[in-house]
Symmetry: C2
Subunit: 117 residues, 2 copies
């Protein structure tokens, strides 16, 4: 992932409403959520929400698809992976000791619940 994309993605997430919206999408998974449902849960006017969703789209963090009258937004898994990967790669110079974030002890609530548990 290129630095410019990373900056765009981080910038897109760096806002209260957008982060909240994104989190809803993450929790919703591949099925996504219609714009209206997001607006309702966040309590923002629709025009404002559209503005924020566009940012997520433009940053490549989400996709849009139409289902009859509704427009459904969903997260883009690869983008999240790219983001997390970029932030953590070469941590501490790429040492093997290097935990998710250079501190095995503090690394409790981390994403790597892939295999076990």
């Amino acid at each position: 992932m290129e630095p410019k994309q990373v900056v765009a993605a981080l910038g897109a997430l760096a806002h209260e409403h957008r982060l909240a919206a994104y989190k809803l999408l993450v929790e919703a998974g591949p099925e996504g959520l219609p714009a209206g449902a997001i607006a309702e849960r966040l309590g923002t006017p629709s025009s404002t929400l559209t503005f924020h969703l566009q940012q997520l789209l433009h940053a490549g963090l989400a996709t849009q698809r139409r289902v009859s009258r509704q427009i459904i937004y969903a997260m883009v898994p690869a983008a999240m992976n790219g983001l997390v990967g970029y932030l953590t790669e070469n941590c501490c110079g790429g040492e093997a000791i290097c935990a998710p974030a250079c501190d095995p002890v503090a690394a409790t609530v981390h994403s790597c619940k892939t295999t076990a548990a």
Copy 2:
């Protein structure tokens, strides 16, 4: 990690120079780097760099310590863990299948090189 902190951290990273500076700190590990070294590598005027480093500090992503005439900045591992953890938690509703970012296949360049390789 509280949403407000996450937004602050993301906002701090959502800038070309700050992301670059932060990456230097991540790669440098716990020892950190003096402000001057960062400024030199990024090619920004010192006053501008200070501005950006303050943002990282204020967001809790970095720490500052003085060593004689230099001021040394270092990353805060727990902050990175918190950030990554927040973004990925409850992915796809907390399913066990849920890889780092809901897509095991795409999750190649991820942080979990902890143990092996």
